[in-house]
């Protein structure tokens, strides 16, 4: 890989956004007020010196809530991406590489799950999960559920990639020397597929953040009083006439995070595939 200066602009900008937000969020507890601290005498205040972004309906500092919310939203985004990868990459890879019946079976599975309205899947799984996953921290629980509901684009993309890679010359050579399928896949193809995995991981993270926000917006995500970006937007809906900052800031944060992850994904893709994006049938962008 070339030095960072030669990375595509998209990748650089994306990293700045994501790393910047993550840093702000990670360091938040150190330099900000408690996001849960209720102060009924200071409700719905405009931005001021004491509260840079104002306060919400219970007098809680919005800056703090947005950044602490970032810890959860970003955390879920990354975790979900990992879970989606854990399910999607093996399935997609095997389907693409093996072809034949394996491919047919996995493709049917993908189609079936794709046709189940994802929101229902999420609602049902989230509703059941407290019973099945007691004791698991909320963030992990939600990430598991979302990962379960969101592995399809990952699988599709990996399948496409492995279909392509299957006909590469080195595979023929490896086969000629008698290597087993698994060995070929792991030793030869996976390194080459690493880039697509990174790409799809970024897009999956972006998508997960959006879905988590949507679920929080509907009241089904991480439990209160932990602030999440989606939950903050849901709060803002009541005060649609007053408190404009309540609606703008969490949304901006979401926007920045999603944009950042998307840029990273695009950037990695550009970096490793100089020909301008070959968008094949299996997509890759959620």
């Amino acid at each position: 890989m070339a030095s960072a200066r030669h990375w595509p602009a998209a990748l650089r900008r994306g990293l700045v956004l994501v790393l910047g937000l993550s840093a702000l969020a990670a360091l938040a507890p150190l330099w900000l007020d408690d996001p849960l601290h209720i102060d009924l005498s200071a409700t719905l205040e405009n931005p001021s010196a004491a509260h840079w972004l104002g306060t919400d309906a219970l007098g809680r500092d919005l800056t703090s809530r947005v950044l602490h919310g970032g810890r959860i939203s970003l955390g879920i985004g990354v975790l979900t991406s990992l879970f989606s990868l854990a399910i999607g990459v093996p399935l997609g890879a095997v389907a693409g590489f093996r072809g034949g019946w394996t491919d047919a079976a996995v493709s049917r599975l993908i189609e079936t799950v794709a046709c189940v309205p994802s929101l229902l899947l999420a609602i049902a799984l989230l509703a059941m999960s407290p019973a099945i996953l007691r004791g698991v921290p909320d963030v992990v629980r939600v990430a598991l559920v979302l990962g379960f509901a969101g592995w399809i684009p990952v699988a599709r993309y990996m399948r496409g990639e492995f279909l392509r890679l299957k006909s590469a010359v080195m595979v023929e050579a490896a086969r000629a020397s008698g290597a087993s399928d698994l060995r070929i896949m792991v030793r030869h193809l996976l390194p080459a597929a690493l880039a697509p995995v990174l790409v799809t991981a970024s897009f999956a993270a972006a998508s997960a953040i959006l879905v988590e926000a949507a679920l929080s917006f509907l009241g089904l995500g991480v439990r209160p009083p932990q602030p999440t970006w989606g939950g903050l937007l849901s709060d803002a809906r009541e005060q649609i006439a007053q408190g404009w900052w309540l609606a703008v800031v969490p949304g901006l944060a979401l926007f920045a995070a999603v944009l950042g992850f998307n840029l990273i994904g695009e950037g990695v893709r550009d970096l490793l595939d100089p020909r301008t994006c070959q968008l094949d049938k299996s997509g890759g962008r959620p």
């Binding site: 601290h37 209720i38 009924l40 409700t43 509703a127 009241g219 209160p224 009083p225 809906r237 009541e238």
Partner: protein, 538 residues
Amino acid sequence: MKQDPRRCLALVFVCLLAACAPAEGPPDAGTAAAGERVVRMHITQDPASLSLIGKTDLNAEVVGIRLTDALVQYDEKLVIRPLLAKSWEFSKSGRSITFKLRENVRWHDGEPVTSADVLFTIDKLREPETENRTWAPDLRKLEKLEAPDEHTVVATYSELKADALEAWRTPILPAHVAGRDEDLFNGEFARQPIGCGPFKFVHYIRGQEIVLEANDDYWGGRPEIDRLEIKIFSDQQTAYQALMTGDLHIMVMSANLWQQARESEHAERFELTSYKRYSAWTLGWNQKNNPFFGDARVRRAMVLALDRESFIENVANGMAHIGATTFPPSSAWAAPDVEPYGYDPDEARHLLSAAGWVDADGDGVRERDGQRLAFTLLVPVSTQQLTQWMADWQQQSWAAIGAEVTIIQLEWQAFRERRKERDFHVVAQTFHFTDPDMYVLYHSSEMESGYNFWSNDDPEIDRLLDAVRYTFDPDQRLAEMHRLQRRLHEQEPVTALFFFDAPLIYDKRLQGVRPSPLGYANTINGPRAWRWAEEASP
């Protein structure tokens, strides 16, 4: 492919759009004829059916009360008034009621109303397939229903409660029409309901409006408006906009929206008021499955730790009042000498220490016998942010006196399941009351399968609950109610945190609006008594 794919697609879309042309509805029924006195109100959802007794809810009640009369009905003070039944008498044995029906009352199609209609309605009501949850439960103890003549109905119970008349607020259906339908929900009657009430059915456009017109031959006198349009708005913001443009004349709204209305430039056109409701936001303390809430001192301490007045002022815009017990303080049943607990965190801490909960290790959370004062609060997910804000506020307030609280917020169905299984430490929910009979909430017999989810088991309370339920003499009953409230206040099995007011806004020219704790249109007066000032009909 020879053709331009874009043109193909465009053609497809045009076809799709054409295929979905709006259905030919009734001719523009929205505008009334010139000079007609119209009032427009709204409900939040389509009623499950217009059969008037099938799967009824508050929305359906609004329509039912207008279309057809019940034997009796509440007035704004929730006192039972005669309607179709001009008088009634409780038997000496105390187990039956004899109703005398008004004579010369007719259905909208001219047929006379008789006791046969009452019998038909009650029988239909009690069928499980009708799924009536409003009045049928209270008729369970009804043993026998007889009609000795065309204008007399005798109801004999195996057990008669003091509030037995409440169930007789059910709308009465015409047996000669509704009786012909096999399926009450989808039959002729539900499509074109007729009744004997002050308004007649005109039409119903699903998702939009139910239109009624005045019944000229109503026995109680023709209403002073000609047409009542009941719009359906699921969202109050939309309803508010309709109010501003004159497509609505009256509505109830949230405290936030009411503030907005007050400050808007249109405010002078409207009467901005509020009325007290008998709905309480409560906390139920589970006395059985944990080491915390079996002790009344702990329960009381939790209430003392909440600065309710401040919450009302700063978050609820002053649109609520605090309660001492689940008996609504604005009702005639409230005991004047029972004062709600105020905000006293020091006293709360003192009570907790007295009950043995002390913070020995200085981590901010009290312990007793190695058990931390850490419990869970079960809350339902709600479209109203207020639900969540209350939970957050409670959590912080209790942390201040040394308790560690985890909020469990579940979607409604999951919430009900958990509550039914009594799998919670403290549960938050709303209750609506229409009568002072709190038996199901507190009686020990309701612990297993009834509504006494918090396993309250106090013989004194049991005795008083029985007394309130079965005492018919009003003064004696009131005395028992007061005793019950004193005991409840001491024991605090359920905390009535807030009784929320309902902000009401309506066009200034509309007169005769008399809201009740049940709403502005759920009692004997309501649209029937409304009129436009000086014939200034908009």
